[in-house]
């Protein structure tokens, strides 16, 4: 169902205004990049941004870079049918980066004022020693970096009336509550964001981009007698508001409610080493326990397990791991990364053999490896770091049902919780929100409180069956800075994992 239809449908139940051209004046923020900054001329040779770049490189350096950003975000939280908060965030600012002697200097200001940007550039330029060769500033060509349609949108969420967003949380709350009488508490969180950014650099990068982001999550508590069980679901995509269809909202709410009700009957999880089948969507394990180890900064420092192992076998031959920021509308996607590099598909591990790493400009230049489009930052206040986008295990040849039926006894991890990993060793711990026992090749009773403990490099060798049903799960990855990501995986089996349980 298209968004317009959805608005009509929900309008029957509650008095709703339709999104109209007036929306922007009432609640939306007009795109300001066009209004405040004449992009084409500012980026040109005699323009303001070129003059900021010259200030950044006044004391020499390999790279000078200006990043401008404006973000408009809305958030609504509903707890038990009441709106707990409704919020609007407006941010704008610019950051200047200078790389000299492989060192990074960074400064920012809460404005796009050219004098303030030049002042920040002066601070950033003080990094490194004096007397470096001054790199010339390449010609900036704003027409070179065209939108690629990966994060295209129809309706800017910042321009949608608050009524329509309130209707989304209202519907999610109602659907979850109606799922089962055991559903006692429902918390719905809706968020949207429109980020507009410009990056120009002395290497000739000149990129302008708009990135929409949507989020819907439900936190649910089911209670029956003296049993209580939580359910949690989240969905997120780099899409316009047209993606928030009625069916999408209903499906999300039902999924969270289903999990809570199912887990009411859960017994304590077993503990000890056993085969674990991870259901489709459990890619977060590989994001945490393998993906971080393939980021080029850890390789360059030599702190990653995967340092110097390109070409070596690091996993069983059914394992192929891909990093791809160019998949349309996934939470980790974009047209260009925050250094202006186009996103692309990168095969990191192919049939068990390590093929390469993900990089940003600094690490690619230092290590002499390709630019992979993984230079990302949290905001204009942050310098770019090597970060993942959408990381996933490629579909394999097994039938998901066959993977379960081939397992005599083990754990079926249907929905994983958060986790933690030590990137030096690859040791990880993950919570499992929804798990079941596998007995004689069949999924039987639900179990609660299971954690998976293991070592990333080790489990890659222990994967012996991979299904063909990859799905993605949205997340927010922390590495001193937070960025939106997703991770994906098909149903797969790990022959032995240490399960921490309470039984």
């Amino acid at each position: 169902m298209r968004r317009r239809d959805f608005i009509k449908v929900i309008a029957k139940g509650s008095a709703l205004a339709l999104a109209s051209p007036l929306a922007a004046d009432l609640l939306g923020v007009r795109p300001a990049l066009g209004a405040d900054l004449d992009w084409e001329s500012a980026a040109g040779a005699g323009g303001d941004l070129a003059s900021v770049l010259r200030a950044a490189l006044a004391r020499g350096g390999l790279l000078g870079e200006v990043y401008l950003e404006e973000v408009v975000r809305t958030g609504i939280r509903m707890t038990d049918g009441r709106i707990e908060y409704i919020e609007l965030g407006l941010d704008r600012g610019g950051g200047i980066r200078v790389i000299k002697d492989w060192k990074t200097g960074y400064a920012f200001c809460d404005s796009w004022d050219v004098d303030e940007l030049k002042q920040a550039a002066g601070v950033a330029s003080r990094i490194g020693g004096a007397g470096d060769a001054v790199t010339g500033i390449g010609a900036l060509d704003p027409s070179a970096a065209r939108p690629r349609g990966i994060v295209s949108y129809v309706t800017d969420p910042a321009e949608v009336l608050a009524d329509a967003k309130v209707a989304v949380v209202d519907l999610a709350d109602r659907v979850a509550r109606e799922y089962d009488p055991a559903i006692k508490q429902v918390r719905v969180e809706y968020r949207d964001e429109m980020r507009r950014m410009v990056v120009v650099s002395s290497e000739g990068v000149a990129v302008r981009q708009e990135i929409p982001l949507l989020w819907l999550s439900l936190d649910i508590l089911a209670v029956r007698g003296d049993r209580r069980a939580p359910g949690y679901v989240r969905r997120s995509s780099k899409s316009g508001f047209e993606h928030m269809t009625e069916e999408f909202v209903r499906e999300t709410a039902r999924e969270g409610a289903r999990q809570a009700v199912t887990m009411l009957d859960a017994a304590d999880a077993p503990s000890g080493e056993m085969p674990v089948v991870i259901a489709s969507g459990g890619g977060v394990v590989f994001h945490e326990a393998v993906g971080h180890g393939l980021e080029a900064d850890g390789i360059e420092r030599g702190t990653s397990f995967y340092t110097g192992r390109v070409g070596e076998r690091v996993g069983s031959d059914v394992v192929t791991i891909v990093e791809d920021g160019s998949i349309p509308h996934l939470r980790g996607s974009f047209d260009y990364d925050d250094e202006g590099t186009p996103s692309r598909r990168n095969v990191l591990i192919e049939n068990g053999i390590l093929r390469g790493y993900i990089s940003d400009r600094l690490t690619a230049a230092k290590l002499g490896i390709p630019l992979t489009g993984n230079g990302r930052r949290e905001s204009y206040m942050h310098y770019p770091l090597v970060r993942m986008t959408n990381t996933f295990i490629l579909d394999g040849a097994s039938d998901p049902e066959e993977i379960v039926s081939a397992t005599d006894r083990g754990l079926y991890a249907k929905r994983l919780g958060g986790g933690e990993v030590d990137t030096t060793t690859g040791n990880f711990t993950f919570g499992v929100r929804e798990a079941y026992l596998i007995e004689k090749g069949r999924i039987t009773s639900p179990v609660r409180g299971a954690t998976l403990i293991g070592n990333g490099p080790e489990i890659l060798r222990r994967i012996d069956m991979v299904g063909g049903d990859t799905t993605f799960w949205p997340g927010t990855c922390g590495k001193g800075q937070w960025v939106p990501i997703s991770s994906g995986a098909p149903t797969l089996r790990i022959t032995a994992v240490n399960v921490g349980g309470t039984a």
Partner: protein, 447 residues
Amino acid sequence: MDAKGMAGKLLRLIERSGADAGEVFLQVSEGVDIEVRDQAVERLRNTQAAGYALRLVVDGRMAFVSSSDMRDGSLETAVSRGVDLARHSTAAGADVFAEPSGPGPGVDAYDEDIDAISIDRKINLLRDTETLCFACDPAISKMEDLAYTDRKTETVIANTAGLLSMRRSTLFDVGVAVVAEKDGDVANGREGMQARLFDRLDSPSELASSACRKAMARLGAGSVKTQSAPVIFDRSTAYAVLTHLFHLVSGERIADGTSILKDRVGDRIASGLVTVVDDATLPGLPRSRPFDDEGTVSRRNVIIAGGVLEGFLFDASSAGKVGTASTGNASRGGFRSLPGVASTNYFLAAGGLAPEEIIRRTDRGLHVTSLAGWWVGINPATGDFSSGARGFWIEGGEVVRPVKNVTIAANLLDMLAGVDAVGSDLFHRYGTAGPTFRVSEMRVGGT
């Protein structure tokens, strides 16, 4: 920037906007982040940030607006947008704004010398730490992390109830992580701390020797058999148990009825050795402040006294929902974040035993020095807790070998009831802190 003047300007805009009530939270901060590698500054970030948040009430409904854009026209837009949003809200906003009640206690949260600390002194703190780490032992092969951060922050809170409060604070943060390699085994060790005063930070030699000692001790670790055993939590791991306890005593969980402790005030819920306190008035600690992020004056809050549950922690809105008063525990993660309930200087009170004595009195058990995934390992509906753990195995009162890749599990309330020894080594390195303590029995999962 004249922070008070800017807050006053925003307040006047609110008063003219048609809102019935409103609050301004304005924060101006500056500081530096430094990372050193191979004796050189690898990254240096200069931060200078300012922004504000508004809470606006129209017809008893509240909305929240935040912005870093301080231009005159933008301020007016933000206020009018906020008023408009409030009309869509059902969030109760009538009684959330603090009444004026004086400046609050002196808490020694500002280092008067911060502007005199040269950038070289900050860099040298890291350089010296790096040198000393590599000098500790030939097995120390790499630095995984070596970072320093400082912030000087001015916070103004003003509201239409007549409150206008300002506070200044400084916070220093240093962290080091080393990697040790020996006989094909790899282990890391981390040490770090926060302080309100620069001179309270550990010296480079203290930081280096602690991080290196942890890494070296972890080399050659193995697993243990799955069993039930006493577990000693090192003081560097006490925060995990305290953080999970916080979520059971947070006013938000009391107000929404989801805490399993909501009807237990006055009950004995923990061993008599357990006293847990939250106190932002203690001078010079990492979370000391004269008033909270809604302007409520700070006070000492005893949560558990000798095993008996005494009370909960509230901000104004959660307190309003259950008909009590704020305990001064409203915090914001910055001006962009909504206020919510958070702990301040939150700790398990020290007991009488030296940590070595607790080990000596343990016949067989696990001494946990590091936890992994602890924050996901809780079921808030039941209190069931599990986590990955590393540490040392104890036999006959002595450490016999390092242990890794094990899990520990128990119900959080059973753990509190099972605390049978509390150490004397409480040290407030971060907001949440505790001494070494022992839980009489937990499930230890290994091979």
